[in-house]
């Protein structure tokens, strides 16, 4: 079966690239699963989404937190262009938990605080990517 060639890139570096059997991303319209021979798609990713890549060759699943950006699919090539992205294995769980608590506290104090709400969303995604329960 054909494989997908996947590249996950952020403006400052290339996060991961390789072959995969399936990619699951979260767009503004909901989750979308991409398998080989998918029709060309260009979608907008949500803030604080979790990207799952089922790697080829039994290497297991790659999970990354991606914040904003796009993904495009064409000719079995999937490129995920995230404004910010981080692999689950790179997440510093304790630091992010702290950040999440701080963000939630400022949301509690001021429900209009969009910045903090966004920060909380991102922290949640990063924890999920790291395999933590949130």
């Amino acid at each position: 079966m054909a494989k997908l060639r996947v590249g996950v890139v952020s403006p400052e570096r290339e996060i991961w690239s390789g072959e995969a059997d399936m990619v699951i991303a979260k767009t503004v319209e909901g989750e979308i699963g991409i398998m080989p021979n998918h029709a060309p798609v260009l979608g907008i990713l949500v803030e604080g989404g979790v990207l799952r890549v089922k790697r080829a060759g039994g290497e297991g699943e790659l999970v990354a937190a991606v914040h904003g950006g796009f993904f495009s699919v064409a000719d079995n090539e999937v490129s995920v262009l995230a404004e910010m992205a981080e692999l689950g294995s790179e997440v510093d769980v304790r630091a992010v938990r702290d950040a999440l608590e701080r963000a939630l506290a400022s949301v509690d104090a001021d429900a209009e605080n969009m910045e903090a709400a966004l920060e909380a969303k991102r922290a949640t995604a990063r924890l999920r990517a790291a395999g933590e329960d949130v």
Partner: protein, 300 residues
């Protein structure tokens, strides 16, 4: 010791310490170029992908009618983003950029377009302040290590004034392109309105797929185009950072070479002065001894 000799010794000492400083600056700049080049390389995949995505969208939505791609018939003002450095000691780096920016300004004014400068880097900001030129935006403090958030901030401001009713109608970037360690060119690029070039029928463009959009073509363009502008600006900042270090390395190398040459010249002059002094002393002693001998001979 003669006055001339002392003077030369002092100058040699001072030139030597200058040479040490410029040599250190040169080495620092060399190591920074490598880092800056690495950052450029790391940013490349994103830029390539986003350019591909934009080309893809533009080439298969037949009628693009997005505010960022529409060209005004009679542009009245144009924003010029001038990318300079924060630090000096980099030879003609900033002067070249500013000269090119002035040329662009002249060109725009010939067409009856007012140039509105947006300036990155303290050197450029200082240059404009000194001439009491008004700047629509100024950013300082990150020319050596630009982060994506910096590019985002700049792009946000540019796009906002581009979209505003009485805002600017075009956006140009004047920055330095890093070609290699030895070559950096000042380039002028138009960023907005995006030039929607009719794709030439090369093998690559002919194969561009027809995309489906999620959620819709309009919404995708709405968020894709600003990202594209951000990426272009980020690339310009990174290239400029690498070029700045390369220019600094070259300037500092020239300064070190000149200092070493000066030291050589001064050392020769000093040796000459010392030799002259010794010769004079000897001839004085010999003269004195002769005079004494003559006087003694006269008495006998």
């Amino acid at each position: 010791m003669g006055a001339q000799l002392r003077l030369l010794r002092r100058r040699i000492r001072s030139v030597k310490s200058t040479a040490k400083i410029t040599r250190a600056q040169e080495l620092i700049a060399s190591s920074r170029i490598a880092k800056a080049q690495q950052r450029m390389a790391e940013a490349l995949p994103y830029e390539r992908e986003i350019t591909r995505a934009v080309t893809g969208v533009v080439s298969n939505t037949s009628s693009i009618d997005h505010p960022l791609t529409v060209e005004k018939e009679r542009p009245a003002s144009a924003g010029v983003l001038i990318v300079t450095s924060d630090g000096g000691f980099c030879g003609g780096f900033n002067a070249n950029v500013l000269r090119e920016a002035e040329a662009l300004r002249g060109l725009l004014e010939e067409r009856g377009v007012r140039a509105v400068p947006f300036v990155v880097g303290s050197k450029g900001v200082g240059w404009h302040r000194f001439r009491s030129r008004e700047m629509a935006g100024e950013w300082e403090g990150f020319s050596r290590r630009p982060a994506y958030s910096d590019a985002k901030e700049i792009a946000g401001m540019l796009i906002e004034s581009f979209k505003a009713e009485e805002g600017i109608d075009e956006i140009h970037i004047v920055s330095t392109e890093f070609v290699s360690m030895l070559t950096q060119n000042v380039v002028v690029k138009r960023v907005l309105p995006l030039e929607v070039v009719e794709a030439e029928q090369t093998e690559e463009t002919a194969l561009l797929p027809y995309f489906e959009f999620e959620p819709g073509a309009g919404a995708v363009l709405d968020s894709l185009l600003p990202r594209y502008v951000e990426s272009r600006i980020f690339t310009a900042l990174l290239q400029s950072a690498a070029s700045e270090e390369a220019a600094r390395r070259r300037a500092m190398k020239a300064a070190t070479d000149n200092a070493n040459e000066l030291i050589g010249v001064f050392t020769r002059q000093m040796n000459q002065a010392r030799q002259a002094e010794i010769t004079q002393e000897i001839s004085e002693i010999v003269g004195g001894a002769n005079a004494l001998a003559d006087a003694a001979a006269g008495k006998e």
